[in-house]
């Protein structure tokens, strides 16, 4: 029984996220362990495996099945479906990097496979594990400030992810631009905090046939809550998450590029004059993501970010892309009109 023994992980894909995010967790954590690393570039796999005690390091997937309970799928986006499905069909629990897949059809098929083979499927919507995200979730769920009325999320930075292969800028492989990248995280939080149906989406971006680097959407939920989301790879936007409730406001203070890694969150009750400041202690969201999935696998529980959550985000992104219009950015199109804010 998995409940009684060490959970064994394999990682497929040795890009930057594996090197920067996952491997340090396995070096730190002793309650589960990494046993296999796979990458089509075997030398890359070997270089990441240096110093680790593993059963298998190579480019083939089949040999890892006997050594693992859980597979982390961290390959380029367009391969998520293919590889995750293969692992699910082999009876392995899968934690898939975001996005779960690049179409909702693929996501649905993954959900079916997980059900058919009675295994867990989670998606690395890691923002849910940030303390700030959990605090906001608690405030929304408890209704201590009343219902959510509107929101304004802005997140942007000059892109500097140390992409190893550059697939993220290949339309066919990435499936989308900044919306399919940072946008997945932002939309997941929105849908997690405010789990209502979306009635309408107004969407625009700056793609000229390639991948958008700036995207802006206006969302109206079925309960009337509405707001806007802006994401960018080209500049540091305000990097602010602002949620306006009936009786107060929650605002994440922008200290660093990623607003949810911020160390402070302000909660203002309209009935009180002072803001309440919540300070955040050191946190390890990726480790929490892995621990949560281990727990779901071990005790047959739901992971905090499940395959269903991955599907919901992709459905919204598909709606955005199908409603897409080119934003009237004067500096891009050489027009005097630059009325886009």
């Amino acid at each position: 029984m998995l409940k009684d023994r060490m959970i064994r992980f394999g990682i497929i894909g040795c890009g930057a996220v594996t090197e920067i995010a996952y491997l340090p967790c396995f070096k730190r954590e002793r309650s589960f362990k990494l046993t296999c690393i796979v990458d089509e570039d075997e030398s890359r796999a070997r270089s990441l495996a240096r110093g680790l005690d593993l059963y298998y390091v190579g480019k083939d997937i089949e040999p890892i099945y006997k050594h693992v309970d859980v597979v982390i799928v961290a390959v380029p986006n367009h391969l998520h479906f293919l590889i995750a499905n293969q692992c699910l069909e082999a009876g392995k629990h899968v934690l898939c990097e975001k996005p779960l897949a690049i179409t909702s059809d693929e996501c649905s098929k993954l959900l079916s496979s997980a059900k058919r083979f009675n295994v867990k499927l989670a998606v690395a919507h890691v923002r849910r594990f940030y303390q700030i995200a959990r605090i906001i979730k608690r405030i929304v769920d408890s209704r201590e400030l009343g219902d959510l009325v509107s929101f304004d999320f802005e997140e942007g930075t000059i892109f500097n992810w140390p992409t190893v292969t550059g697939y993220i800028f290949d339309k066919a492989k990435a499936g989308g631009g900044v919306l399919m990248d940072i946008g997945v995280h932002v939309l997941d939080l929105l849908l997690w905090w405010h789990p209502y149906e979306i009635n309408s989406v107004d969407y625009g971006d700056d793609s000229l046939g390639g991948l958008e680097a700036y995207a802006k959407l206006h969302v109206i939920f079925s309960n009337g809550t509405e707001g806007r989301v802006k994401v960018s790879r080209l500049s540091a936007l305000r990097n602010r998450y602002k949620l306006i409730f009936e009786n107060g406001v929650v605002e994440v203070e922008p200290l660093v590029w990623d607003p949810l890694i911020s160390k402070r969150i302000h909660v203002t009750k309209f009935s009180e004059t002072r803001k309440k400041l919540i300070k955040i202690k050191k946190e390890f969201p990726i480790l929490d993501l892995l621990s949560d999935f281990v727990s779901a696998v071990r005790y047959d529980d739901y992971p905090l970010a499940s395959g269903e959550d991955g599907l919901k985000v992709i459905q919204v992104i598909e709606r955005c892309y199908s409603a897409r219009r080119l934003l009237p950015l004067g500096w891009l199109l050489s027009t005097a009109d630059a009325s886009c804010d």
């Binding site: 800028f169 390639g210 958008e212 630059a338 886009c340």
Partner: protein, 357 residues
């Protein structure tokens, strides 16, 4: 447009990036771009361009990138921290580009040089006929040598045009727009008595239009063109445009002695700070964040002290009364730049949109 497919080096940069954009937006021409580091490619990736991983020192990647192209726009220059590598990128890289372009019978190669080739003491009026001059500016010296390489290949039959842009501003300009707004935000620009130099500013789209004209006109081959705005503004006017956007209006006029004193103090502070940063980087960042949040005026004063305004090595540039003539570009290319204000208006929209202020 007399090109069907262009090969661009430096396309993840400011000028090369805009060339790729305008080729596609204005002319529907899809380019092939040499990309050294995908981490810088977010802007370029908005276009349906073909990105070829490599650099100007890697001949295989150049061969691959230039395949099927009729025009080369060579915008790369070395801007690393390693001056020897920069020299190799500028000179060996230009040689590689020219050799392969010659072999592939490219119809036209446009080399983006700089008015830095005129050295540190240019005459009051500079034209394409003004002699180049080596100086203490490594960038300018390297551009002179790169131009020489281009002329050697022109003699071998490679159709080359050399473009010498002046101060290029506009969206994504790292020094003269992003750098300028950051500078005024920390009060790094000073109105120094007697320092009334001219800024030969050119809006990026005007420069790119000039470059495209040079592609279209056969007479341009073998020629040098200075590309600047219609007429210069003063540096004070230039920085005022940015300062007006911020809560940091231009300071009162100060004397040269006071500027020097501040420059000395800031140099001393920066030197010590860089030493402290080696050991206390997180603590210093936390303190900075705290001051910005809790004591913004104190934080501004400290930033101002550290930035120190105009540095001694900048005085020459900001004092020069040189005008760069664009008569030849107008006459041969039909170059016709828009007004400084028109370019600045779009630049300001871009800065606002990108939350630089």
């Amino acid at each position: 447009m007399s090109t069907e497919k262009a090969f661009i080096t430096g396309a993840t940069g400011f000028i090369g990036g805009r060339i790729a954009e305008k080729l596609w937006i204005d002319h529907g021409i899809n380019s092939r771009c040499l990309v050294r580091n995908f981490s810088n490619a977010a802007r370029l990736a908005r276009l349906p361009v073909k990105m070829v991983l490599g650099d100007v020192l890697d001949r295989t990647s150049i061969e691959k990138g230039m395949e099927g192209c009729d025009t080369v726009l060579h915008c790369t220059y070395g801007n690393t921290n390693d001056s020897n590598l920069n020299t190799r990128i500028n000179e060996e890289g230009t040689t590689n580009i020219c050799e392969i372009a010659l072999k592939k019978r490219i119809k036209k190669l446009i080399y983006i040089s700089s008015v830095a080739v005129y050295g540190s003491n240019p005459p009051p009026v500079v034209t394409e006929e003004t002699p180049t001059a080596f100086s203490d500016d490594k960038y300018g010296n390297s551009k002179i040598r790169s131009e020489k390489i281009c002329f050697d290949f022109l003699a071998k039959g490679l159709p080359i045009v050399i473009i010498r842009p002046t101060i290029v501003f506009g969206p994504f300009s790292p020094i003269w727009t992003v750098g300028a707004i950051k500078r005024v935000l920390v009060k790094g620009w000073q109105n120094v008595k007697g320092m009334n130099g001219l800024c030969n500013a050119v809006y990026i789209d005007d420069l790119v239009d000039g470059i495209f004209l040079s592609i279209n006109i056969d007479e341009a081959i073998g020629q040098i063109f200075v590309i600047s705005g219609e007429k210069p503004v003063t540096w004070n006017q230039y920085f005022s445009e940015y300062a007006q956007l911020t809560e940091s209006p231009l300071p009162q006029e100060i004397s040269e002695t006071r500027r020097k004193a501040k420059a000395v103090l800031s140099t001393w502070l920066r030197t010590n700070l860089s030493f402290l940063r080696r050991f206390f980087e997180p603590q210093l960042q936390r303190t900075h964040s705290y001051l910005k949040q809790q004591k913004p005026s104190l934080a501004d004063k400290i930033e101002n002290l550290i930035s120190g305004g105009i540095k001694n090595n900048e005085v020459r540039l900001f004092s020069q009364r040189t005008s760069y003539s664009i008569d030849k570009s107008k006459q041969i290319l039909g170059y016709s730049p828009g007004s400084f204000q028109a370019g600045m208006k779009i630049t300001i929209d871009w800065l606002r949109h990108h939350r630089y202020f």
